[in-house]
């Protein structure tokens, strides 16, 4: 836990984790018995007929509700589907949870027809790269590349940005990938440029990786190491110097993490999708270690690897300390965008409180988006979300979490903000449906 500095006169600073000169190889972890795939979409009444409990699946097979469904995952192991259920995440978001019992005998070298079919379809997609194919087969790769931005007719994409920086503290995944897989990244960048018709990409890296990144063929920009300068909105504002002041979504910029680009490159080169996720694991004693685990690996397997035991009241965070999500079960799996797992002992947790804002202004001074959080929070606590959005810039928030980090009243400000945005957005969506 980082403490308030003795000299509170200066603005609190948080530094991103910087990777060593020669980082240790990630520890390879494999799922022991089961993997769990969380797919962003739960079948409503229509249901799905593509797979059902008891089906055999192969490594690399696409698990989706429909052939052209935008949300899907690629199974990272071969085995048998043992359970399909609903899973409710943050803010009531629904997922389809597909449990797959790993079959030890289902080895890749047993070249059954089924395996070949799976591999062929993927290979074919790679040989004839197009935006369509990419969206259909590559979105399940580690780093979760998002191709949907290309299909928005309102905001044609003008730039491709590859993030060689990590978007939260303690996380080192992207830096590691830049350092080790720059060749694959170059392939990936070329591929994305080709299919999107955009002439070049911009790669954003921390200063110490500037040289390495140079060989990717992209235009290299660096960010400083102070949180949250690697947040996409801030990259747009500061690094890309979009001086017209437009927000990212307005100018149409496609962001890819370095890990995703590298996975795309590798998939293209080999015709086999890489499905190992690189995750920074921080144990209770503060040790940080990179691991490489198949997507879908449950938390339990990772805990066992580190000999960590969880006790009542401990906390496990998927994602960085500022923006991650805490999970309530050791079954929770590694997802394509899980960069970090933090295991916190009960004693390391600061209780949040129900005290009103005391107007100390700490939050306002740290907010990178210049939001008047001391006012905003009053409206949010009172449930007046529309006023909060109209008068107090709710939607300017870039979701860095810094405000909650410094709040003297320990108000869960960030949570209030996310809830308000979510509520307003779902209201807007509902209105559009009605209209």
């Amino acid at each position: 836990m980082i403490k308030r500095s003795f000299f509170g006169l200066v603005k609190p600073k948080l530094q991103y984790e910087i990777i060593d000169e020669a980082p240790a190889e990630p520890i390879s972890i494999s799922a022991s018995k089961q993997i769990l795939l969380l797919i962003d979409q739960f079948p409503d009444s229509a249901g799905n007929d593509l797979f059902k409990t008891g089906d055999e699946v192969r490594r690399g097979q696409k698990i989706a509700m429909a052939d052209d469904a935008p949300a899907y995952l690629l199974s990272s192991q071969s085995g048998q589907i043992s359970k399909i259920s609903e899973f409710v995440g943050m803010l009531g978001k629904k997922y389809m949870a597909v449990t797959i019992d790993v079959k030890p005998d289902a080895k890749r070298d047993v070249k059954s027809d089924a395996v070949r079919a799976v591999d062929e379809s993927f290979k074919k997609a790679c040989q004839a790269p197009s935006l369509d194919n990419a969206a259909k087969y590559l979105a399940g790769l580690p780093g979760k590349p998002d191709f949907s931005v290309f299909s928005d007719p309102e905001k044609p994409v003008k730039a491709i940005v590859v993030c060689g920086v990590d978007n939260d503290l303690l996380t080192t995944t992207n830096q590691y990938v830049v350092k080790n897989n720059i060749i694959a990244i170059k392939t990936g960048i070329d591929l994305i440029c080709k299919i999107s018709g955009i002439s070049h990409a911009i790669m954003v890296v921390p200063q110490h990786l500037e040289q390495v990144a140079g060989s990717s063929g992209a235009i290299v920009k660096t960010v400083d190491s102070e949180y949250p300068s690697a947040h996409p909105e801030l990259i747009v504002q500061h690094i890309l110097a979009s001086d017209d002041g437009k927000s990212m979504s307005e100018s149409g910029i496609a962001f890819f993490s370095a890990e995703a680009v590298s996975a795309i490159g590798a998939a293209y080169n080999t015709g086999i999708p890489p499905l190992e996720k690189i995750v920074t694991v921080i144990t209770k004693d503060g040790n940080k270690r990179l691991v490489s685990a198949p997507i879908g690996t449950p938390l339990q397997d990772i805990l066992s690897e580190f000999n960590e035991t969880l006790n009542e009241g401990d906390r496990v965070v998927f994602g960085g300390p500022m923006t991650g999500t805490s999970v309530f079960s050791t079954d929770y799996p590694v997802l394509p965008d899980t960069d970090t797992i933090i295991i916190q002992d009960k004693s390391q947790i600061t209780e949040r409180d129900d005290i009103a804002c005391i107007n100390c202004g700490e939050c306002v001074r740290v907010c990178p988006a210049n939001i008047q959080i001391n006012q905003l929070i009053r409206f949010l606590e009172a449930g007046q979300y529309e006023e909060a959005a109209d008068q107090w810039d709710l939607f300017s928030c870039i979701e860095c979490g810094f405000c909650s980090y410094v709040c003297e009243s320990r108000i869960p400000i960030f949570q209030h903000i996310k809830l308000a945005k979510h509520t307003l957005e779902s209201m807007k969506a509902a209105e559009e449906i009605n209209a």
Binding site: A356, R378, F379, E381, A382, Q384
Partner: protein, 190 residues
Amino acid sequence: MGYFELFISCIFVNNILLAQFLGNCPFLGTSKKMETAVGMAMAVIFVTVMAGTITWIIYTFILVNYDLVYLRTIAFIVVIASLVQFVEMFLKKSIPALYAGLGIFLPLITTNCAVMGVCVLNIDKEFTFLDSLAASLFYAIGFGLALILFAGLRERILLARVPKPLQDTSIALITAGMISLAFFAFQGMV
């Protein structure tokens, strides 16, 4: 008293709302939102200046000359009421934009002690015509200032966790008392 002193006196020292207690109903009624407060402040300034000067003329040249001083109250209120009506009609026809802004506040002003109070005070203090004009303007500015400052605080208080029985008017009155106390700062400055 020079105009500078009159300015300080009417706006700060003898603020029509906080020291003379005139115009409290609109003070409490239109201060929940800054926008409303600003609209009301403008409307009051506009009407008070007109009413203050017209009633002065009527009092000095008609009521005094014809020995009808006892009709002061009735004459003033009729003047103010008609003035407000007239201003409302005029704005509606000629400056609809301003009407849209001030319109809803105008009827409220008829029953605003501050406007009537300023007219009566101008007479009681035996002001000259120019004094009355200036005092009406300054008093009205003082009203507007107090109203706007109050709205600033009230917008915040409306979001605070005020205990139930104190909510709304009760806490607003207590806050108004504190503003009135703060205005003691200017005592003796003229």
